[in-house]
Amino acid sequence: MARKNYRRRLKAPITAKKGEIITIKTMAEHTMEPGVRRDPETGLVYPRFIIDSVIVRYNGKQIFRSRWYSGVSENPYMSFKIKVEESGLLEVEWIDDYKQSTFKRSVVNVYDDEGNEIFPLRFNKASQLED
C-alpha cells in the first residue's frame, strides 16, 4: 500500500554551471509535536516528537548541517544555497528524536563554459598510464 506518512520532498535544479550558487528547497511531512501541548479532555501532555537534525551531503561529503528544536513549525520547510563545482549526487538526511533517518536524493549535472560536463573523477598517480 502506498500510504506512507513520512513524505520528504526535495527540489534542486537538474543542470548548473561550474561555480554557480543554486537554491535547494526541502520539505518534510512531520507533525513536529513540541512536547508542551495537552490533550483537552484528559490533560495528558502529547510527548515530544520532532525532527532533530538535517544533514546535507554532496558526493558523500557533508557540506551543511542544521539542528532544529521544538520551535520549527510542522511540515517543516527549509530552503538553502550551495555552490557546485562538479556533477554529483545531492543527499538530504532528516534525523528525528528517535535517531531514525530518512533520505531524499537528487542528481545535479554541472557543465563548464564550453558545455562539457564536469565529472567527479579523481585520478591518482598509480592509475596514470603515461609518465
Binding site: 500510504r3 513524505r7 520532498r9 520539505m27 507533525t31 513549525s73 511540515n75 520547510y77
Partner: protein
C-alpha cells in the same frame, strides 16, 4: 380589564414571530446571490502576502503532500476486486477532470445529498469491494484533494436542477439561521461585513472554492465539514458530525454562491 390584558399579551407574543429575519417571509427569491460576478473575491485575496506566496508555489504549498499521496492511492490496488481507480477513471474514459463542480450531488434514490468524500466511499464499497475509509482521515482527504486538484483553475459551476432545489433551499435557511450562544448567522458577517477587520483578521466572503484546504491552525488538510464544525464552535453552538445532511446542504448553497470563481485547491487558509 382581564380581556384587554389578554389581548395585549397575544399581540406582544405574535410580534416576536413577525420580527424581521431575512428569510422568514416567503417572498424572497431563492436564487438571489449576495455578490455579483464582479464583486466575488476568493479567500486567497484576503491572505497576507507571505501566505499567498506559500499557496501559489506548488512546492512551498504543504497541501501538495496530500495531493501526491492521493495520486499514489488513486493508482494503487485498494480492495478485494484487485484493481485501482485508474481502471475506470483514466484519461480516455470517465476522466475526473472538471467533475468537482457536480458535488454535492444527489444520491441514487434522490433522497439525500452526497459530497465528494462520501461518493469516494460509495465507489470503494460497491465497485472495488473495499472497506470504506473513515471520514476526515488522511487517506480519504488525500484522495479527495487529488480529485479536486485535477480541476484546479476551472470555474466553479454548480448547476441546480429541479430535484436539487429543495436542498438549496434548506442550505440557504441554515446559512441565514442564527445559532449558538453568540446568536450569530453566517450572512451577518460574510455577506454584509466582508473586507472589514475583526480582531486583526479581515473577514472573508466565505467561499468554498479552495476546499479541501490546508489550514494553518491545525497543520493538516481539512474538508469543508470540519471547517463548518469549527465555525459552529466559535459561535458557541453544538457542532454536528462530519457527513451530516445539514452540512451537505450548507456546502451545496455556499459552493453555488461562489459560482464563477476558480477552483484553487489545495489552498492555504488560516
Amino acid at each position: 380589564m382581564k380581556f384587554l390584558l389578554f389581548l395585549f399579551f397575544v399581540i406582544l407574543g405574535s410580534s416576536f414571530s413577525l420580527s424581521s429575519e431575512e428569510i422568514l417571509n416567503n417572498d424572497y427569491n431563492l436564487y438571489d446571490r449576495p455578490y455579483s460576478t464582479d464583486e466575488l473575491r476568493s479567500g486567497r485575496s484576503f491572505l497576507k502576502k507571505e501566505t499567498m506566496k506559500m499557496e501559489i508555489d506548488d512546492f512551498d504549498n504543504p497541501g501538495m503532500i496530500w495531493v501526491e499521496r492521493g495520486k499514489e492511492l488513486f493508482s494503487s490496488v485498494l480492495g478485494k476486486n484487485k484493481f485501482s481507480c485508474l481502471k475506470c477513471h483514466n484519461e480516455s474514459e470517465n476522466s475526473l477532470i472538471g467533475v468537482v463542480s457536480n458535488f454535492p450531488k444527489l444520491s441514487e434514490d434522490n433522497m439525500s445529498l452526497v459530497n465528494l468524500e462520501q461518493q469516494i466511499n460509495i465507489c470503494l464499497k460497491n465497485n472495488m469491494k473495499a472497506e470504506p475509509l473513515v471520514l476526515e482521515s488522511k487517506a480519504l482527504l488525500s484522495l479527495s484533494s487529488y480529485i479536486t486538484f485535477l480541476s484546479k483553475g476551472m470555474p466553479v459551476n454548480v448547476k441546480i436542477d429541479h430535484n436539487k432545489e429543495k436542498f438549496l433551499k434548506k442550505g440557504k435557511e441554515l446559512y441565514f439561521k442564527r445559532i449558538g450562544q453568540m446568536n450569530l448567522a453566517c450572512n451577518q458577517c460574510h455577506d454584509h461585513l466582508a473586507g472589514k477587520s475583526l480582531r486583526a483578521e479581515t473577514i472573508s466572503q466565505g467561499h468554498l472554492n479552495g476546499f479541501p484546504s490546508y489550514l494553518l491552525r491545525w497543520g493538516v488538510v481539512a474538508s469543508a465539514h470540519r471547517r463548518f464544525q469549527f465555525c459552529n464552535d466559535q459561535a458557541r453552538a453544538e457542532p454536528l458530525e462530519i457527513g451530516h445532511p445539514d452540512y451537505n446542504a450548507l456546502q451545496l448553497y455556499i459552493t453555488w454562491r461562489g459560482n464563477s470563481l476558480l477552483f484553487e485547491s489545495p489552498s492555504v487558509r488560516r
